[in-house]
């Protein structure tokens, strides 16, 4: 019982995950800054942001559904933190595991985006509404290719259970056998986290802050935390599936940080895609290419 609570609240879930999320967010910002020849924030910046936001008043706009407005950020963060349990963090086996948990995890990870979209639609502001439309449009764009890309390793291992998949991969670097799946998974993760160039849903020069325009204080902090946690989860998942598994904490750190550097470079290299261009990119290239890889994998198995 006590060990369950510890797992849930402190390690590997809960508090440690929030701290890890902030650390990764800081690293991402710092790397991006250095790539742009800037100084970047100091190490405590995300923590300071969170403390400040949590201490601030949460302004609830008139005419919104109050329960939804306040509840959605909580659900979003809760979804991300629940997903922690099924993912092999820190190089340890997942805290919980059952057949088919990969699908559940992917859905839990989508909860954040879904909540963001709902929050935008609920806020009633014009920028929020536009942002919500774009967030959900983008969700439909990257979600299927992302899921398909995560299924590649599942096909190899012949299981839907994350623990079994990592065991089934057995230290093989699927990055080399399924390069398309790896790329689509990683870039899909960037789309999920609304990182540039997929930041059309929160393009500040067009729609201010997108779906979260009306959010301030606690709600905004929770959404940000949720996104930070998802970044760590996503990177871990991709590293576990494609970079030969995470057998120990050192491998975990090296592999996830390597992926972080890679996505920081991708972020720095591109202009923002328009939402129609994002959708086009995912369905025209992302989905088709993954499908092609699937066929190759399947064919390879039957031959």
């Amino acid at each position: 019982m006590i060990s369950d609570l510890t797992t849930l609240l402190f390690f590997p879930g809960g508090l440690s995950m929030l701290l890890a999320g902030m650390a990764f967010t800081w690293l991402d910002r710092k790397l991006l800054a250095r790539l742009q020849n800037r100084l970047g924030p100091r190490w405590f910046q995300p923590l300071a942001d969170m403390v400040k936001l949590l201490a601030k008043e949460e302004v609830v706009p008139a005419g919104v559904n109050r329960l939804l407005f306040v509840g959605l950020p909580v659900v979003a963060l809760a979804g991300a933190l629940t997903a922690v349990l099924y993912i092999p963090l820190w190089g340890l086996p997942p805290a919980a595991s059952f057949p088919g948990d990969l699908v559940v995890t992917v859905y839990l990870l989508s909860l954040l985006t879904l909540c963001t979209g709902l929050a935008g639609a609920n806020s009633g502001g014009r920028f929020s509404l536009l942002g919500a439309t774009r967030t959900l449009t983008q969700l439909f764009a990257y979600e299927a290719p992302f899921l398909m890309a995560l299924m590649g390793p599942a096909l190899v291992a012949g299981s839907w259970q994350i623990a079994l998949i990592t065991a089934g991969i057995n230290g093989r670097w699927l990055l080399f056998t399924q390069p398309i799946g790896f790329l689509v998974a990683l870039i899909g993760l960037m789309g999920k986290l609304e990182m540039p160039p997929f930041d059309a849903p929160e393009a500040e020069t067009e729609i201010v802050a997108g779906a979260l325009t009306e959010y301030s204080g606690r709600g905004l902090a929770l959404f940000y935390l949720g996104r930070s946690v998802e970044m760590v989860l996503g990177l871990t998942l991709v590293a576990a599936f494609y970079l030969g598994g995470l057998s120990n904490p050192v491998a975990f750190l090296l592999k996830t940080l390597g992926l972080l550097l890679f996505i920081a470079i991708v972020q720095s290299l591109m202009a923002r895609l328009r939402i129609d261009q994002t959708v086009g990119l995912w369905w025209r290239y992302g989905a088709l290419l993954v499908l092609l890889q699937w066929l190759v994998l399947w064919g390879g198995r039957w031959l």
């Binding site: 930041d199 500040e204 067009e206 923002r272 939402i275």
Partner: protein, 428 residues
């Protein structure tokens, strides 16, 4: 049909951009009616940064005005001062020494360099290309440092004087400038390569906001915006001022008229600027920097001074009644001429393209906001102060006239070329 129209009207979704919006660095208000992501109508309201500068000139003497007018724009400050100085010198019947004129031109071209690099960063930022933004602004520091070393200030250089300039170029500075230009030239070449070959960036610029030469002519656009549509409109060539006869430039043209062309024109203009600065440094005419005697009272008369600001033609009308203060100074900045094009070009485009198209004209709202157009039908008449005041009082009392008294309003419909009457119709 009627009900159909009605339901359509009920569904109008207007996205307000401004007066406070992250896409705008200065206050201006745009309303874009959108259907899904497509803009179907656009309107603008300007005047939020109205500072009463033109009226202010009437209570300051000729010299004091130089520094106030320099502060109309923070980016193209020198060119405002130059336009004013040239106008006043024309009224006084004097001409600044050739060395002063050459230095004026050089500072103006350095300023253009800084303005265009600033714009490049700004435009990249609107496109979400933060890296290009950061690099462009980093490299812009080079030209800012040059200007600071040359004149002693980064922004309002105050290099001009009535009848000359304040600062000379020493040999040491000349070599520093040359060095800086070498670096900038290399970087500009790189950025030109980026904006013409980066596939993601091109997706956001190529074929977007296309303005044909005919359209450009009809909308009365000026400066690089016009030149990107293949319209040769450059005061430096049409009516050379300062030292542009001795150190001419070639206007840079592009035919495509889209956003990419505007990037290309502005970046290629930088090479022209670098070239002309180098030529001036190599052949700086000897002589005085400033006239020995500049009259304190300027002869009565009127003068028009036109110069090419980084954003396009800058127009100064100056009237003197023979005293030590001007009777009237009228400024028309290029942004006002270009604003109508934004409204025309955004219709039918994606909302995501709107900030790009807006930034494509390199808008500068504070420069722009000195006018209040009073439209009563089609007549443009002269208004006396008393009458204007009365109209203002009536307006704020809620008695809005049928014609409407608003901020500078520009309709997005096909616009006739800016008639001179419109200029006189505008008042401080």
């Amino acid at each position: 049909m009627h009900t159909n129209e009605h339901t359509q009207k009920a569904e109008t979704f207007i996205v307000p951009i401004g007066p406070q919006h992250p896409a705008l660095r200065e206050p201006g208000h745009f309303e874009f009616t959108i259907e899904g992501e497509i803009v179907t109508a656009a309107s603008v309201r300007l005047g939020y940064a109205h500072r009463g500068i033109e009226k202010g000139t009437e209570s300051r003497n000729w010299v004091q005005n130089l520094y106030m007018l320099e502060r109309i724009c923070g980016i193209c400050s020198h060119i405002h001062a130059t336009a004013y100085c040239l106008g006043v010198e024309q009224l006084a019947g004097v001409e600044a020494p050739p060395r002063a004129q050459a230095i004026r031109e050089m500072v103006a071209e350095l300023e253009r360099t800084h303005s265009h690099l600033l714009w490049l960063g700004e435009a990249a930022h609107e496109a979400g290309f933060e890296t290009l933004f950061m690099y462009a602004w980093r490299d812009r520091e080079t030209v800012m440092d040059i200007l600071e070393a040359l004149t002693g200030n980064r922004v309002n250089y105050s290099a001009n004087l009535l009848g000359g300039v304040k600062y000379d170029v020493t040999g040491e500075q000349a070599s520093k400038i040359e060095q800086g230009l070498d670096y900038l030239e290399e970087r500009t070449r790189h950025y030109l390569d980026v904006v013409t070959s980066d596939p993601v960036f091109i997706q956001r610029t190529r074929g977007i906001g296309v303005m044909t030469a005919v359209q450009a002519d009809r909308l009365g656009v000026v400066g690089p915006t016009a030149r990107a549509s293949g319209v040769v409109r450059d005061v430096r060539v049409e009516a050379p001022y300062a030292a542009y006869t001795a150190f001419p430039i070639t206007p840079v043209l592009a035919q495509a008229g889209d956003l990419e062309a505007r990037f290309v024109v502005r970046l290629r203009e930088l090479f022209e600027s670098y070239g002309v600065i180098r030529r001036i440094l190599a052949n700086l005419p000897p002589g005085e920097l400033v006239l020995k005697r500049m009259p304190r009272r300027i002869k009565a008369g009127e003068a028009i001074s036109r110069v090419e600001a980084p954003r396009g033609e800058l127009f100064y009308f100056i009237r003197s009644n023979g005293s030590d203060t001007p009777d009237r100074v009228k400024v028309r900045t290029p942004t006002l001429c270009n604003m109508a094009s934004v409204l025309t070009l955004t219709v039918g485009r994606h909302l995501a393209d709107v900030p790009m198209i807006l930034v494509g004209i390199d808008p500068c709202f504070s420069c722009n906001d000195r006018g209040l157009v009073l439209k009563r039908g089609a007549d443009h008449e002269h208004w006396t102060w008393d009458r204007l005041r009365q109209i203002g009082l009536d307006y704020y009392a809620g008695e809005r006239g049928s014609g409407g008294v608003g901020g500078t309003s520009i309709s997005p419909a096909p616009l006739p070329p800016c008639p001179p009457a419109l200029l006189t119709g505008m008042h401080v």
